[in-house]
Every structure is written in C-alpha cells, then in structure tokens.
C-alpha cells in the first residue's frame, strides 16, 4: 500500500501535474491543427468505447442491482432516482440490464469481427496473390455474398444454428468475410504491381517472403480502419438478430432482446423499455464508427472519400 503511493509520488515528481497537462494540451492542439475535427471525433469514439467496456467489465461500479433480480422494483415502474432507466415487466432494473447486457453485445461483435477478419484477410491475400482460377472462383463466391443483403444471410444462419452466444457470433461473422476478402484482395492486387515488390521478386525473394514482408504490412493499415467500422456494423447486426428473436435464450441480458420485449408495451406508453436499449445500441455503434472514421482520416485520408 505504502509502496504504491510512493511510486505514485515519484511519478508525480517526474511529471508535475501542470507540466503534464500542458504537454497533453500541446499534443492535442498540435493534432487538432493537423487533422481537424477528425481527431476529436476519434477521441470521442475512444471515450465512448472505453466507458462501455468499463461498464461491461465492472458493472457493479455503476449499479447495485442484479440484472436478473425479479424483485428489484415495481412491475413496469417508470424511471426514478433509484431505477434510473425504470423497471421492466418482470420488475427487473433496466439500468442494470443495460450495464450487464453490454457484455453480450460487445463480446459477440468483437468476436465476430475477429473471426471474419481472420478468415477474410488470409483468403483475400491468397486470392489476390495467387490469381488464376482460384482467384476467379473465390471472387465470384465472395461477390455473390457481398452483393446480397447481409442481414438476410445472418438471419438464415442464426435460424439454422439456434439461439446461443457462439451461434449468433458465427451468424454475424459469416456476413463480414466478403468485406475483408474484397478489401484485402484489392489492395494485394495493387501492391503486387508496385515497384519494390517487382524488385524483390527480381532478386529472387521467396513467394511467402513477398507475401508476409511486403504485401501484408501494407494491407494491415486499412484493415484496422475497416475492423473498427466492422465492429460497429456487427453491433447493429447482433442487436437486429436479437430484436427479431434469433439471438440468445432468456436469462442472459441482451440489449436487442430487451428492446423487442418492450415493443409490446409501446401502446401502453411504456417508453422506457424501448428507449434505453436503443440509445445504448446507438451510442456503442457510434463509438466504433467515430473511431473508425477518425482513424481513416488520420491513416489514409483518401480511403473513405471513395
């Protein structure tokens, strides 16, 4: 305990608060000059994500209620000081369900984006690099999937797999594979023709070497941007699947499902059951979109203009 505060004091001595703030301010204003609004958009996105991730990791900091407690308040109670977001038809605290529910949606969206990028990126690299009939066939398949409304595919998969956290992750992941594939393949094709790659080939570099040392690093910058936007999209898809009843079985707090539960109380004027889950979905998706947009502008201003 003592040692801890000692190190704290030492750190403070090295970076006095005033100097630290000043440095931070200078750094921020420099970035502001360089990137303008995009910089602030990205910072706002990161703050939103950080806050919700924090809520997902330690929900007890924000709420004392158990999201499954069916005696948390009155049945269909309107928001008040104790229940900030009100209570639902089973007398559960909605604020607490939002905090715990962030785990589900964040987990599914991030896992889905990871899975689809881990499949889409290598396929895109290979397809663009190898070319030939392999590339042609794979491109045709991916283009077909890409041009088709993704949600409809996700619905089919989710219905096939049935409710469950892993199942819904797979259903969401499937529809984003073509996104990564197309992006990476396109970039690979361009980079393949660049002079330095030609040069490497001319001096007899191995194919795998060219792929990993020259092409992959150049592709990855764009992938980071798309990854962030992809999570935003996956959040919307997960919520949509839950909303139409293809998400998770009961007893797991989930924003989309809470929203669909509230739907039938709409004519009775119970606005809090639908308002708050929707706001949460929107804010979280917005966080990742803002992060992605900011990153895009900073890493590659031309990317999103197209």
């Amino acid at each position: 305990m003592d040692r801890k505060s000692n190190t704290g004091a030492a750190a403070e001595a090295a970076f006095s608060p005033a100097a630290g703030m000043g440095r931070l301010f200078r750094w921020l204003s420099e970035k502001n000059k360089r990137y303008g609004a995009e910089w602030w958009i990205m910072i706002a996105g990161i703050l939103i994500i950080a806050l919700i991730v924090f809520a997902a990791v330690c929900p007890t900091v924000f709420t004392k209620f158990d999201p499954l407690d069916q005696n948390a308040g009155t049945q269909l109670g309107a928001p008040n000081a104790e229940h900030l977001f009100g209570t639902d038809n089973l007398s559960r605290d909605i604020f607490s369900r939002m905090m715990y529910g962030s785990r589900t949606i964040l987990g599914v969206a991030i896992a889905a984006a990871l899975v689809s990028s881990l499949i889409g990126i290598p396929l895109g690299l290979l397809s663009g690099f190898i070319g030939g009939w392999f590339d042609k066939t794979l491109s045709l398949v991916m283009d077909s999937l890409y041009s088709f409304p993704g949600l409809i595919l996700a619905i089919s998969f989710a219905a096939m797999l049935g409710p469950g956290v892993i199942n819904i992750t797979v259903a969401v992941a499937v529809i984003y594979i073509p996104t990564y594939f197309r992006l990476v393949r396109g970039q690979t094709l361009t980079i393949k023709e660049e002079l330095y790659v030609e040069a490497a080939r001319a001096i007899g570099a191995k194919r795998s070497m060219i792929l990993f040392k020259y092409i992959f690093p150049n592709v990855i910058a764009t992938v980071v941007v798309v990854f962030s936007l992809n999570i935003a999209d996956a959040i919307m898809t997960e919520a949509a699947l839950s909303y139409i009843g293809l998400g998770l079985p009961g007893s797991i707090p989930d924003w989309g499902m809470d929203l669909s539960m509230g739907k039938k109380f709409l004519p009775s004027g119970v606005w809090w059951m639908i308002t708050f889950p929707g706001v949460m979905i929107m804010i979280l998706a917005l966080g990742f979109t803002m992060l992605g947009e900011g990153l895009a502008e900073i890493l590659n201003p031309k990317l999103l203009e197209k």
């Binding site: 038809n89 089973l90 049935g162 079985p249 009961g250 007893s251 039938k264």
Partner: protein
Amino acid sequence: MKRLSLVLLVLFMTVSVGIVAAAPKTLVYGTTDKVSDMDTANAYDIHTWDVFQNIDKGLLAYEPGTTKIIPALASAFTVNDKGDEFTFTLRPGLKFTDGTPFDASVMKWSIDRVVALKGDPSWLISDYVKEVTVKDPLTVVFTLKQPCAFFPTLIATPTYFPLNPNDFPADKIIKDISELKSGSLSGLGPYKLTSFKRDEEAVFEANPAFYGPKPDVGRIIIRYFADATTMRLAFEKGEIDLVYKSLNPSDIKDLSANKKYVTNRLPGPQIRYLCFETSQSIFKDKVLRQAIAALVNRPEIIQKVYLGQNSPLYSMVANGMIYQTQDFKTVFGDGNVALANKLLAKAGYTAQKPFAFDLWYTPSHYGDTEVNMAEVMKAQLEKSPAIKVTLKSAEWATYKDNWHKKVMPAFLLGWYPDYVDPDDYTAAFAGTSGSEGMGIYFSDKKWDDLFTIEQGSPKDSVRKDVFVKVQKMWTDEVMTVPIWQGDMYIFTKPNVSGVKLGPTLIFNYSELKLK
C-alpha cells in the same frame, strides 16, 4: 303541386328507408389468427374450424357457450349396446345454398372424402371410424373400430362436417374459395363466406338456405391483423367492433380498464404445463419431477408474466370441466420450497451438489411472453438452493424435432383439445401412444388399462371413478405439471352483445347482436 311534392317526399323517404333496411347490419371483427385451408379435409386449427362452425354444421353441435351436445343436422341418434355403432336420423328437407339436397349419401361422401385425401386431421376420422353406411336417405350409420364414449364430441368437429359434392372437388384439397365451383364457400350453417383475401379480410353473409333462425348481424367482416398491437390500436380508433384473439397481456390490461369497451372474459380450453422426458433423461426419477411440481408458483407466474390474466391450473383436466379435481394444490401447493428441498435431498441433491438441468421453451409459438414465463420459472425453481436451471430455447419446428429426439429433459408446452372431454386432457399425455407423441415417453400398462376402460364406457360413474383416480395418480408420477389455463378475452364496442364462447372455444357469429 304541393300535394305532389309531398307524395314524392313520402315516396322518397319510403324508398330510402327501404334501402337502408335492405343493407344488412355489418360487424367488423379483428383477429390475429390465420385461415389455413378452406377445406375440412385439411383444416386443423382453431380459427379455420371456427369459420366452418359458422358456415356449416355437423350432425351434432355444441349448444353455444356450453359443452352440451345438441342435435344439429341430425334430429336424433342412437348407440348400440357395445358402443361402437352410432345411427343418426337426419333432419329432412335440408338444402345447400345452390339447391343441392343434403342426405345420408352426401354425409358418407364427405366423410369418405376426408379419409381418402389423407389431410392433416383425417386421423380424427380414420383412427375411429371403420365405415359409414347409408341406410336410407335420412339415416346414416357410423361403425367404429372400437367403442368410443366421446364419439358425439368428435361428430361435432368440422372434420366430420358435410360438404357440398357439387361444389368441392372429390379428389383434391382446396386452399382458397376461388378454387370452388361456386366461388363462395357455403355449407348448411347460418352464414356463407362470400369473399376472402388471405391475411386481409373475409366477408360472411347470412345464408338464406339455413334451417335455423336468421342471424341478427347479416354481414360479418373479419379483418386479419399481423400483430396484436396494430389490432388494439385499430379497435381503439373505432375501426373494428370486436377483437378476439390474441392480444398481449398489456393490451388486455389497458382495454379491460377502459370503460368505453365491453370486456368478455371467459375460461378458454387452452392449458399450459411443463413436460418431462420420463424414459431416459435426468428426470427419469419421479422424485425429481415431484420436487419441480412443488416449486412452481402459479399465481406468481400469472401475475408477473400475464399481468393477472389466465387462471392457475391444478390438474391436467381443465377448470370447469366434469370430473376435475385439484390434487396438485392439495399435494404440492405453490412455491413449496420446503417440500422440494426434502424431495431433492431424498434424491441426493443439496446446495453443495445441486441438481442442474436444461429448461426448454419455444420463443414464438405461444407468443412472445414465453421467454418471460421461462425466466420467472427459472427464478422460482432456483428458490431451492439445490437446483440450477439453464434456459434453452428453440423455434417450433426444431422444438418438435427435439422432443422426438429426446433432447429436452424438461420443456414447456401448451394444449388445445381436439374434443372437449377429460380424456383428451389426460390420455394424450399419460397413455403410451399419446405420451410418445408429446415427447414424454411415459408408458405404464396400469394407466393404459384405465384409459381403455374410460374410453369404452358410456357410463358416467365408471368414467368419473377413472378420472378421479388418474388425477390422484398424476401427483405421484408427475409426467407433467399443470401451470395455468388460458382465459379468452373478447372486447366489443358497447353496441355489440351476444358474445358466447364456452370451453369449446367455438365462436358462433350468429349469436351476436348489434344495436
């Protein structure tokens, strides 16, 4: 001149009154139900059966609003001593709308057609009826495969209704009335269906050829709604005069509280219960099934999930039905944690070593309140520290598949009876063949014998003994736990009266009155 105009005025008024009087009284009725096939050979759902109950009649019928069987197209019937031969005497002079006379041969043609086409409900005939014979134009004889005490209730189901042989094709099931030769669907009932647009609207008009009294409301229009919310709002805007099936609990609560509308709350025949897979699952041990039965808290489920609607059910035999006893109430009560803990301890489960199992539900087949019902039950069961429940769900098609594959140890189901008799609420779950079809897989010769006795005996005292005994035994075997019985709600504008809907759930439009 003045006199002439007066005469003209009077004339005009007479004519206009005449025209107004000629336009039939019209009632718009809203529902979220759907019509399946406009053919008794394949229709097998409550709403389509309702349509047939109104445009056609059986040899026997239910007195509106009751379970009493009364003569309809048959004026009388006799049973032989063994109970496997029913002879019906037909009402003379009956005709279909197009003039085709109704006689014994039409009856035989209709029954044979349903059997031959092998549609979904055809087993309701083919499993019971060996043969139909025409004795003379006004006498028809049903010979059964085995004695059947409840055969009159079967005769009153639409599958047994006569159809017009000049209108219906003999060799194929029809879907829409446009496939009929006459283009409108008419039988021997008080109404005929004159126009039908699937999922949109159906128009019924009084059938001039009907043998009974003319209905007060000459024209009934059914509007089909895609969901309850829309229907409720349309009713509140005054676009429809009557709503029946199915509103959300929240809608029912709001509409009941509104003095502008008339609320008709009636006990319905639908029951909800928890099933156990008894042959090989973790619930093979009946002590565990008893423990679950003790933990279920019916009033709480009804209050939390259904906002106080529906009625607790303490027997598989529905409330208000003959021979019903309340054994689950006396033996287990509601939310009896102490008893459950004792039973669980007997089976070797404690808080340290809890009994864990999957509780299954299906999220849309019984309405979207189902997930709430499962969540509340999970909380109730886990009141015992020796229980750990995981909720699982599957859509209806998968759910049915699952129970045939014995995947689900405990699962929520609901039941609408085919015929209103305690037999259909008991043998269907505890008899070997019925139980297999429900995914319960309970089989015991002792039980099967009891059902055979009850099914074969027309005597009231014999059947009563059996059903009282069976309900008592149920609390020991607990292959299912009865939970609640559905209440039906019909809301009308104040100018509508004559809503009669009994345990049979048959909605007779001809009883409606419009001021």
